[in-house]
Amino acid sequence: MRKIKYILLLIIVMQAIVMSPVLAAKVHYEEGKRVYDYADLLTNSEEERLEEYALSIEDEAETEFYILTTDDAEGKSAMEFADDFGDEGNFGYGSSENYVLMLIDMDNREVWISTTGDAIDYLTDSRIDDMLDEIMEYVPDDCYKAGETYLDEAYDYICYGEDDGDTVFGIVLMCLFGSAVVSGIVLLVMVSGAKTKMTVGSATYMGAGGITINQREDIYTHTTTTKHRIESSSSGGGGSSTHRSSSGRRHGGGGRKF
């Protein structure tokens, strides 16, 4: 019995050793690697520069930034391919799962930006749309520029917080506008508060006997019934739409064909 157990274990180990080159051939995950250029759209020096840029911003953003290119989507859609790639590589800053991944998928001819963790909330649908507007100016002719634009934008949005990006002047202007409204309301309250109100009522002058109820009738007559189909509630605008990848993880994101 014991021998059989060892043999079984041996077979499993052997299997793993034999299978690993196959897996490795498909995906070369490497610790600290941020740019996976399988479609070879970037030169080596471009790859290095993007790699460096991505690493330099991730601590401040507490988010990892990946760039992935492929010319074989393995029959998946761009979204599925991007999500699965991140899930399998177990990407995420520190112990979190905060990362953003841009896939340039030459197979589906689509750019997909995939988000997880906190990045989902920072990169809302409308922001991803804005990012894609800029990125698509360079895809597929200048993928280095596309990568750089993607890192610039994603970093800006995430480091700026969940609010719309504004300058100090913009904030002051907004505060001025808000204060103008609030001051107006306060002033209105001050102006209207100057009047005395009537404070006596029915109870003030009512005799000690109170009210006498001479007749009290509540007669049930009939019942009417109406029915309505229950409408499913639709979600409000703004925010980020999410989906589950095949591994079950929650992803946000958006893409565009080229």
Binding site: V172, S183, Y220, T221, T224, T225, K227, H228
Partner: protein, 359 residues
Amino acid sequence: MVKTYKCPGCGADMKYDAEAKKLSCEYCETSLTVDEAKALEETKQQEADDKDSEEVVDETNEADSYGEAGDFIKYKCATCGAELMTDEHTAATFCNYCGSPNLLSERIEGEKTPAMLIPFKITKEKAKEIYYTWCKKGALTPGEFFSQSTLEKMSAIYVPFWLYDYGANVKMRAHCTRVRSEVRGNYRYTHTSHYRVLRDVSAEYLKIPADASQKMPDDVMDKLEPFNYGEMTAFEMPYLSGYMAEKYNFTSEEMAKRVEARVAGYISQEGRSTINGYSTVAVTAKNVWLAKRRASYVMLPVWMLTYRYKGKEHIFAINGQTGKLVGKRPISAGKCLGWYFGMLGVFTLISSLVGVFVL
């Protein structure tokens, strides 16, 4: 007949003191209760009548109030003999020349004598203080409204009121519903039960006041309520010494309409409040029946201040018993602008600082 109450000690004018609740002389500190003053006045009157009853009786009447010029009546000050004019409704005032209190007693004698009166409890100092603190509270009140010279213009007036007792009854018919809903499958079922509701409610309302003087704005007088009727005493002339007083312009019948509208509102409200426990209540028919039980003529104490500001008249009144103030603080445009831009500056600064540093 013009009356003043003279100090038995020094002969100076005596005035009713709201704090001491007595008539007092400001020179020799003699004080008399209302009953004592009344008794003293009656003996004096008796003596005077005894002395020159035959010769002067007709002349006194003529001399005291003779000639009517439109709404104004001439009379002679009982202290200095100056000829003065008042309008026909004034019952107590001051001589323009010597400042002594003049009580035009025939204006409130006979059937026009008030049955009851609530004496002033708020002194002039207290009234000024109440008004001053109230004005101060209004950040937008122009400064001249609480200057000393304005405060001095405040006058204490006994305002004639009718107090009405009413029996009230309301019969109401209402259509009410109770709504219950349930979900079955993809549908929501709403069941509405309908009820026919009838109510017959009655109540007694006692001593509802309505001011009977034309000069006093009704809305201001209404807001002075409530008065504490527990402190009401039988009317005596000496209470008016040192105060202004008006006699009523409107009879109890003339004022009844206003009070009836009020009572009808009250009883309807009471009737409606007995209908509860429904999702919706729609009153379909309402019938109010009122019975006037009694109306009595009383004088209630009011501090008044009328002030003209930028062509508009502002009226302030203080309940002379409870100190409740009625009035609308005037608004200074300059102060409004100052506050607006001040607040704008401060709010903008604070929110910007918070905004820039936190975000």
